[in-house]
Amino acid sequence: MIRALLWILGAILLGGIVHLSTVLAMPQAAKQDAYSRLVPLAPVNTMVTLAAPTPDNAIMPFMDPAFAAAVCRYDLTTGSLKLVAPVSQAYTSVTFYTRRSVAYYAINDRAAGRRTIELDLMTPEQHAEVPEEEDVTAADRLIIDSPGPIGLILLRALAPEPGLLTMARRALAGATCSIQPVK
């Protein structure tokens, strides 16, 4: 009797381990995560406007149809990245995601406080190499640390009415993301 209970206890413990490890492994194992979906659409280090979601076709689930969106699939191995995004009339936001879809930084047009959002994206190692004076003199230079060398930048502009979607898309078309070669 006691032996059977021990077997069951062992099974429950082992089941808990199986459960936790499968949950933790899921982001690595997922084949259809946002980054994988964007690989065929977005060349690396280029800003690409995304097609608006429709009932038949959407790049990702739960996209907000009131927004025009553009994405930059970045790779910082050859240098840091400069993002320049003009602000649209209504609301513009930039969100940075890791390879595993974790949103590690997000900023909107009001927080950026200018007509264009300008950001430098670096790995912590590249940030450490930025000369200190440069860091100080360019006080309004916004530097974001990327946790890893690859990830996604999602740029979105709101169309307050459906008729304004073309305007929002035009604002996004002026956005660029480009690698700054290492000096």
């Binding site: 899921m26 907000d64 927004f67 909107n108």
Partner: protein, 192 residues
């Protein structure tokens, strides 16, 4: 012999418990740190690096990109305030107050996160385009058939999800009480 039988039994039970629990938690959408107001639930931490492992796994599996904390917060509703499941053949009204935010949008999806086809190509409203009364209040009718005013068509599908997104809002990880975040009430009006 008994050892062999015992360990086989243990491994089998362990696999069933472990994989079953994973499947249940990922399909039912279990995540920690949720903020529930009426029928609406948000996971503000999912938009930051503090996202918990369950939410990470759910997002990786679905392929969506969560709303970043500096951008806004996303509320999901699958039932009305009294717990009735959203059925596209029924009529639901959404009315009342919205939390402080520069903009908000409300969108109707099927349970997999796809937009629902309808004749007027209406999938949601933004805070700017919604029709309000003289006092600034609004009511949205979520219904299969055309309604006057703010009609959000369900397309008659069996189950739908409503997503309320607040942009540039103080609502977030620190929000605790219903007073800080009054969300619109959802009431079922009847089924056809």
């Amino acid at each position: 012999m008994r050892l062999l039988f015992g360990s086989c039994f243990t491994f089998l039970i362990a696999a069933v418990i472990g994989l079953g629990a994973t499947w249940l938690t990922l399909t039912r959408g279990v995540a920690f740190g949720s903020l529930t107001i009426g029928g609406w639930t948000a996971w503000p931490k999912s938009g930051s690096v503090d996202i918990d492992p369950y939410a990470r796994a759910i997002i990786a599996r679905s392929g969506e990109l969560p709303t970043g904390t500096g951008d806004g917060v996303t509320f999901y509703a699958r039932t009305d305030d009294s717990g009735n499941k959203f059925d596209g053949r029924c009529t639901f009204s959404i009315s009342g107050l919205t939390p402080a935010a520069r903009y908000w949008t409300v969108t109707l999806y099927d349970p997999a996160g796809r937009l629902v086809a309808n004749a007027i190509e209406r999938h949601g409203f933004t805070s700017e385009e919604i029709v309000r009364d003289a006092e600034g209040r609004f009511a949205i009718m979520v219904a299969p058939l055309a309604r006057p005013g703010n009609w959000l068509p369900t397309g008659g599908i069996e189950q739908f999800v409503l997503v309320w997104r607040l942009y540039d809002t103080p609502i977030g990880v620190a929000t605790r009480t219903t007073k800080e975040g009054p969300m619109p009430a959802i009431v079922r009006k009847g089924c056809s």
